[in-house]
């Protein structure tokens, strides 16, 4: 059993060796979490495990049993209102995405970073976000959006 975005989801024994990423995408059919490298190198698959950013491709289902998993689809539910999460809002205001493929992972990392450190400085943002690659090169805007989300919450 895991808690996936607030829903209790059964995990059959046969799937214990599966990566959390494959489970999310191919069994729970939530496609917002992305595969980028499969080796913990790019951050595209970032989800929250009990509130902390983790790479879903590097976790097996047996390691996450009984834990709370939040994916990009569940991010907005972490806020009080029924709107978007502040990082999602800031991402839109700063028009961060180009192709967008890396962005769910960037957002999940950013949200976890801000819940740990609500007022990060530039160096904190760079260090906190460093595991997430953006091939399109939107880094400057990502940093601006994280700073904006921090300011506006």
């Amino acid at each position: 059993m895991i808690d996936l975005n607030g829903n209790t989801v059964r995990v059959e024994k046969a799937l214990y060796d599966l990566s959390l990423l494959d489970f999310i995408r191919d069994h729970a059919l939530l496609k917002g979490t992305k595969y980028g490298c499969g080796q913990g190198l790019c951050g595209a698959c970032t989800v929250h495990l009990d509130g902390a950013a983790q790479r879903a491709c590097q976790l097996s289902m047996s390691e996450v049993l009984g834990r709370n998993v939040t994916t990009i689809e569940g991010l907005s539910a972490l806020t009080d209102g029924d709107g978007l999460h502040p990082v999602q809002q800031a991402w839109i205001t700063e028009a961060v995405p180009q192709c967008g493929y890396c962005q769910p992972g960037q957002l999940m990392t950013a949200a976890a970073l801000l819940s740990e450190n609500p007022v990060p400085n530039d160096a904190d943002i760079r260090a906190g976000m460093n595991g997430n690659i953006c091939r399109c090169g939107t880094y400057d805007r990502i940093r601006r959006a994280v700073a904006r989300a921090a300011r506006e919450t």
């Binding site: 599966l18 059919l29 496609k31 595969y35 980028g36 028009a95 995405p97 769910p104 090169g137």
Partner: protein
């Protein structure tokens, strides 16, 4: 102007019906042109093409069937703004969709930074024609003279009464066929100083889907009853499948089919779950044949070709070419190299194919859906009309998705099982089995006269075909004999006034598959040219920016736009101020595709403690003509600048034993957050100009500016890219 055509041909009606056009509605359209099946779709759009892309829907909203594929460059948004400018629409009144291949006549592949530059005109004309037709209709319905129907948002103001486009929708499907050479006012041009929507930073309607994870990329397509396929891919570039033996794959529970197809060199399995694929593939034993007659990648060394004085193409030969006569008081010679590079888009490619007796359906992100359609039709020996490609947003393109190999693999597998089959490349496959940016090897000899002006410039280089990199093996020898690859030479014609100039090159096909990559030859060629300009300036103790300006003067002032961006980047960056020890500024400039003028200044620091070269900041001034959406353009420039950092300091693919060595982001480095400098981007405002190339323009000068800044910081000249602290101080 009476231009409604009611007797439309079956052919044209078909596109309409396919795009959901069943009852009422109005569209404008004309010619559809044929394309060759096996070559990418390259015909430039005709003005009339725009007419088939703009539709008035029964609810009064405008649907724009965008003839450009979205891969993050934002062209559909910019073109939507042009449609909205012509039709006086709010953003909510326009819906932009990516047409399936049976919903629009073929359009040119999405490449070369030309989506806005080349398509703004036909799109604007199509929309303007629709608007004027609707104005006539409104005049008829109100019995007012046409001059009394004034533009209003989403319709017309008929002397105080608002008539929305929705009220003007005809009762039956109607096509509009404007006269040749009509004179309809295109607001995109005529409102030059008073545009309402063009020039504003509309936000893409896709943003919300992206940040909530709802956007569908090729990997995210799942159809009911879909199976999963994977393929054993060749262990080397030169391997051909000869035979294969199933040693237990088909017998595995959950495996639906094993496909051994030597005629297409395809060896694959289809299974109920993606999790079975890796095991199943291990139970097939392929037999490969190795070797073909192409050259080895090691041969791409300019010194070899210079030794034989053997270059296939002469790009420029101007001035007195009796080289020895040229008087120079100071000569400088240097060789420069750049590496093989991968696209490394964040989304490893994927596709779903569903082959049935009636038709073939393909879902994939691709830069040229009509090319994919043609290739798959040929592969399956089907009529092109039976193949429909549904293009999806790409998780990065960069020239790497002219082909969709997984679509072809999935099609062959689905043809066997008759059910939808998804094929998803993993990162390793993405790095090893696509085509690459070729490496470049340059040699430049130059000399200065007594006044510090360049007396002669002799530039030779060797690389591989890029535009013609993807032609079928059988065709390659003929093409290579007769055609100089313009992609390989992009950016090799330098902009400066010199006494005498000769540029020669060879585009040698090797074992390594090469093809389009962001900017084609522009970044490698600009790196060589702008490094040599720097070397010359330093040779005589001249300021590199002043030295460049001195060589852009004269010649009827046609280099003034480049001089302007250079001067401005000097101003915004505070060029000329002294820098602390181990810090340096470098400048470079270039004209992209003969149209977009860009200058970049880089600020680089050498950290001896950490043994690192760090780009601290980049300033970029770009004149890309009319800017349709400033925010989108700035985001593209930002991406280009980051690519400049990556190419200068990180990216290198190496080949050994006939295959790429790098398999993931631990071997092939791309820029990360902590290495990404701040960027200051300024666009030159030119309301009356046409929009020009953006998507690849700023990349090339960024690379060179960083290399030049590293020299200024360290006194060591990086002549081989990528470079790092260790190579600089080796």
């Amino acid at each position: 102007m009476e231009n409604i055509v009611r007797n439309i041909s079956i052919d044209r009606r078909k596109f309409l019906i396919n795009s959901g056009w069943l009852a009422a509605g109005l569209t404008v359209l004309t010619s559809c042109k044929g394309v060759f099946a096996v070559l990418p779709t390259t015909a430039n759009p005709e003005i009339e093409d725009g007419l088939s892309w703009v539709q008035l829907m029964p609810d009064g909203r405008i649907r724009f069937l965008c003839p450009r594929m979205e891969m993050g460059q934002g062209a559909p948004l910019g073109l939507s703004q042009i449609v909205a400018e012509e039709l006086n629409l709010e953003q909510s009144q326009i819906e932009c969709v990516s047409p399936a291949s049976n919903q629009s006549p073929p359009f040119k592949m999405t490449v070369g930074s030309e989506s806005i530059a080349l398509f703004s005109e036909p799109v604007s004309r199509g929309a303007a024609n629709l608007r004027e037709h609707l104005r006539q209709q409104a005049a008829r319905e109100t019995a007012l003279p046409i001059g009394q129907l004034k533009d209003a948002t989403g319709g017309f103001d008929a002397v105080g009464r608002f008539i929305g486009y929705g009220e003007l929708v005809p009762a039956e499907v109607t096509l509009l066929m404007p006269e040749q050479n009509d004179t309809v006012a295109q607001y995109f041009y005529t409102r030059a100083e008073a545009r309402r929507i063009v020039g504003k930073s509309w936000r893409s309607p896709d943003l919300e889907n992206i940040v909530t994870g709802k956007t569908i990329y090729s990997r995210d397509v799942s159809l009911p009853g879909m199976l999963y396929g994977d393929v054993i891919r060749p262990p080397r570039f030169d391997a051909t499948l000869v035979d294969a033996k199933d040693i237990g794959a088909e017998a595995m529970p959950g495996v639906e089919a094993v496909v051994i197809d030597t005629s297409n060199s395809l060896l694959g399995v289809v299974a109920k779950s993606p999790l079975l694929l890796a095991d199943a593939l291990k139970r097939i034993e392929p037999v490969w044949r190795f070797g073909n007659s192409t050259a080895s990648a090691d041969e791409l060394e300019v010194t070899r070709y210079r030794a034989r004085d053997d270059f296939e193409h002469t790009l420029v030969d101007e001035g007195n070419s009796a080289a020895n006569d040229v008087i120079s008081v100071r000569s400088v010679s240097a060789n420069y190299t750049t590496s093989y590079m991968a696209h490394a888009a964040m989304e490893p490619r994927a596709a779903v194919a569903w082959v049935t007796e009636e038709n073939v359906k393909i879902w994939c992100g691709c830069q040229d859906p009509y090319f994919i359609r043609g290739r798959i039709a040929a592969l399956l020996e089907r009529d092109e009309e039976e193949v429909v490609v549904h293009p999806l947003r790409m998780g990065g393109g960069f020239g790497g998705r002219i082909l969709s190999q997984p679509a072809e693999e999935a099609a062959l597998l689905s043809a066997r099982v008759g059910r939808p089959v998804g094929v998803q490349w993993d990162r390793e496959t993405e790095f090893q089995h696509n085509y690459f940016q070729p490496k470049f090897s340059h040699a430049i000899d130059s000399g200065l006269d007594a006044k510090g002006k360049i007396a002669y410039w002799r530039h030779d280089f060797v690389s591989s075909p890029i535009i013609f990199g993807l032609v079928p093996r059988g065709l390659a020898p003929i093409l290579d004999t007769f055609i100089a690859d313009k992609g390989t030479a992009r950016g090799a014609r330098m902009p400066y006034q010199v006494g005498q100039q000769r540029v020669r090159y060879s585009d040698i096909r090797t074992e390594v598959p090469t093809g389009a990559w962001r900017g084609l030859g522009a970044a490698p060629n600009t790196f060589a040219i702008e490094s040599m300009m720097d070397e010359l300036a330093f040779a005589i103790g001249e300021d590199p920016l002043t030295f460049r300006l001195a060589h852009l003067a004269g010649a009827g002032g046609h280099m003034e736009p480049l001089a302007t961006v250079l001067r401005r980047v000097g101003d915004v960056s505070g060029w000329g101020r002294s820098t602390p020890k181990n810090r340096g500024r470098g400048v470079a400039c270039a004209i992209y595709k003969g149209q977009t003028h860009v200058a970049v200044v880089a600020d680089v620091a050498i950290d001896h403690g950490e043994r690192q070269v760090k780009v601290l900041r980049l300033w970029c001034v770009q004149n890309c003509g009319l800017v349709v959406n400033p925010d989108q353009v700035e985001n593209q420039v930002l991406g280009n600048l980051m690519w400049g950092c990556g190419m200068a300091l990180e990216e290198k693919l190496t080949i050994s034993d006939g295959i790429a060595n790098e398999r993931n982001f631990d071997g092939y480095n791309i820029l990360r957050h902590n290495e990404a400098p701040e960027a200051v981007i300024k666009l030159v405002k030119t309301a009356r100009a046409k929009p020009l190339a953006v998507g690849e323009a700023a990349f090339a000068p960024a690379v060179a500016a960083i290399a030049n800044a590293a020299f200024a910081a360290s006194g060591k000249r990086p002549r081989a890219l990528p470079f790092d602290y260790d190579s600089l101080y080796a």
